[in-house]
């Protein structure tokens, strides 16, 4: 388990904290979805977890020891897949994989073995000799993910790994990520796409303005009683047709109720998210 307690971070020269006392428990063995609008602090939290930024306050524990201690003992225990396509476009796919594996200290035999494994995993065997900059968007994302898996990390941080890909590549990536989740492995997944998080994550935290608004299993989050819901009642109806729906709405008005909206199907994560963060458009 990754336990985050009271984590704060402020960029130099800025008054407002990007992370404001965040506390989270991220269990192993599943995928933990981190949701939040732009500027909520998701990427900063990932950067602190990855060791790129140092938190002003708080601690992060990996099991019984601090995350920093764990990484000093086993530097390869954490992998990061940033939202940028973080590889060298002028190098071939194979050169990129060899470089990132080698620079992380994989020995020659292990490097060969891992390059082959992640190549097969990402289904990028056919483009190994091509320059990375010439790949399609989907292949670039697959290479980006493959590089993050070179050291078989116990903790994998995925920062919006499906941005800008076509539906087929997205489905492949989601399937792949789901496949690497397993006992003992911690996967943190950030995304703007609610349906993605709902589809693959077991646990979810919604953060905004550097604070955790809601955290729990996907079921807990979807079933949570939200403050704004107290005077709002959801009445689930099986409606035979549009005319019946219009009459039901009129009947509600006649009873002094104000219909707020009509949703088809069950409640989804996006509704919860929008209600919590209270805005639909962020700069």
């Amino acid at each position: 388990m990754l336990k985050i307690e009271g984590l704060s971070f402020r960029y130099p020269g800025r008054e407002q904290a990007v992370l404001d006392g965040i506390s989270l428990e991220i269990p192993a063995g599943g995928i933990f979805g981190l949701l939040g609008p732009n500027g909520a602090g998701k990427t900063t939290l990932i950067s602190v977890l990855a060791g790129q930024l140092r938190a002003a306050a708080g601690r992060i524990a990996a099991g019984d020891e601090s995350l920093q201690g764990a990484r000093e003992r086993r530097p390869q225990c954490l992998g990061l897949v940033p939202q940028e396509l973080a590889f060298y476009p002028m190098l071939t796919v194979l050169e990129n994989l060899r470089f990132f594996g080698g620079v992380q200290g994989l020995g020659p035999a292990r490097l060969r073995e891992r390059v082959q494994a992640v190549t097969e995993f990402g289904r990028i065997e056919s483009v190994l000799e091509r320059r990375a900059g010439e790949l399609s968007g989907g292949l670039k994302r697959r290479l980006n993910l493959a590089i993050g898996l070179l050291t078989e990390p116990d903790i994998l941080l995925l920062d919006e790994p499906t941005v800008g890909v076509d539906p087929q590549s997205r489905a492949f990536l989601l399937e792949s990520i789901r496949a690497i989740a397993g006992p003992g492995r911690i996967i943190v997944y950030t995304s703007h796409y609610m349906e993605e998080v709902q589809a693959i994550c077991d646990h979810v935290a919604i953060i905004d303005a550097g604070r955790v608004l809601l955290s729990g299993t996907l079921g807990e989050v979807l079933g949570a009683e939200l403050g704004a819901d107290r005077d709002v009642v959801s009445l689930r109806l099986r409606v035979p047709g549009p005319e019946a729906l219009a009459r039901a709405t009129e009947a509600a008005r006649a009873a002094g109720c104000e219909p707020l909206g009509v949703d088809h199907g069950p409640r989804d994560l996006e509704q919860v998210f929008m209600q919590l963060t209270n805005r639909s458009l962020r700069d």
């Binding site: 960029y11 790129q52 930024l53 990484r71 990061l80 940028e84 590889f87």
Partner: protein, 375 residues
């Protein structure tokens, strides 16, 4: 060390695929060396008097004799103007650059005329004429007037210039090291552009998250660019040795101590790479890096005696050149190529360049950690 090897290999592969960047690093200094070696050849060798025209205005056999005796040694007699006014008008146009006015009744410098006073020779000179040429002409006039052939006067004093036979660099001795240094410092552009692209694309963040120390990332740039600088040095020396003479200029004499040349080149390279790393860390965009790196180099070159040879600068300006690291490097190269000096002669230049390299690398690390909130 193995991890550093991977960083060097990556940098080398990335560099080798940037054909345009490499072309700038090698072709630009080579072109400058050829052009400036040929352009400055007359100024640097002091042979600008070759074919310089003068005239002697005066009546009588003595004036004609003077004109005949003065001619030579780079000075050529031209037809005399009609009178002094015509002579002044001609000199003001620079054709001829010199007119010697011989008074009537002139017999010799120390011989009085019929009036009892020694008539004075007067010389009208073009203001654009360099001082050394004027002095050389003056010497020939005095020799001719005293009845001593100018060549004999020159032989009367045996001058030995210790080191470089000319006492100052020839065009090729000035241009090869100067434009080599300029080209070496231009690694600032590929270093900073590669680094900024790494930062923009998130590869730098990924490497930091993989616990690759930032100092190692910077050292990862040093090896490949050091080799590039050495290759630049080799090719520019070859250009001075083979290409310049093939195009009609003077050939560069090889140094007596190649080890010292390597030492100066290495120190210059480290200072140039340090400069590149600082610009890379400080600049937020490629445009910023291009402006800071490019303009910084041009200013350092203008100040450091790269664009204008230091020996033609006034004394005050020559003192200002000490502010430019390119001048330190040029001193080091001249100590080896020009003065054939020893280790002690390059020690100061090398020490200054190494101190600068260390300071620039330290500043780059400090800037990085300050920005990351880790200072």
């Amino acid at each position: 060390m193995r991890r550093l090897g991977f960083l060097w290999l990556k940098e080398w592969l990335a560099l080798s695929r940037d054909v345009h960047g490499l072309a700038v690093l090698f072709l630009m200094p080579a072109a400058f060396i050829v052009i400036m070696s040929l352009a400055l050849s007359d100024v640097a060798t002091g042979d600008a008097g070759r074919g310089l025209e003068f005239a002697v205005l005066g009546s009588g056999e003595k004036a004609a004799r003077l004109a005949q005796d003065i001619a030579g040694g780079g000075f050529r007699a031209a037809p005399a103007p009609a009178n002094e006014a015509a002579a002044r008008a001609a000199v003001s146009r620079g054709k001829p650059a010199l007119v010697l006015l011989v008074p009537a009744g002139f017999q010799g410098i120390f011989e009085p005329s019929a009036t009892g006073t020694a008539p004075t020779l007067r010389l009208l000179a073009d203001p654009a004429l360099p001082g050394p040429q004027l002095a050389a002409f003056q010497q020939r006039v005095l020799g001719a007037a005293l009845g001593t052939p100018p060549e004999a006067m020159a032989q009367a004093l045996d001058i030995e210039v210790v080191g470089n036979p000319r006492g100052r660099p020839s065009a090729v001795q000035q241009s090869v090291p100067a434009w080599l240094i300029f080209g070496m410092f231009f690694v600032v552009l590929p270093i900073s552009s590669l680094f900024i692209v790494e930062r923009r694309d998130g590869t730098l963040a990924r490497l930091v998250s993989q616990r690759v120390p930032f100092s190692m990332l910077l050292l990862g740039k040093v090896g490949p660019f050091f080799l590039i600088n050495l290759a630049q040095a080799g090719l520019m020396l070859l250009a001075g040795r083979l290409l310049v003479p093939w195009l009609g200029g003077e050939a560069l004499e090889p140094p007596q101590r190649w080890d010292l040349l390597l030492a100066v080149t290495a120190c210059t390279s480290l200072a140039a790479i340090g400069w590149g790393l600082l610009v890379a860390v400080c600049s937020r965009t490629l445009e910023q890096a291009t402006v800071i790196g490019g303009v910084g180099n041009i200013l350092a070159a203008a100040l450091g005696g790269i664009m204008v040879p230091r020996f033609v600068m006034p004394e005050t300006m020559q003192r200002w050149t000490e502010l430019s690291p390119m001048a330190w490097a040029l001193d080091g190269f001249h100590a080896v190529i020009l003065r054939h000096g020893g280790a002690a002669d390059i020690a100061a230049s090398c020490a200054k360049l190494l101190a600068l390299a260390a300071a620039l690398l330290g500043a780059a690390l400090w800037m990085h950690y300050r920005r990351r909130g880790r200072a």
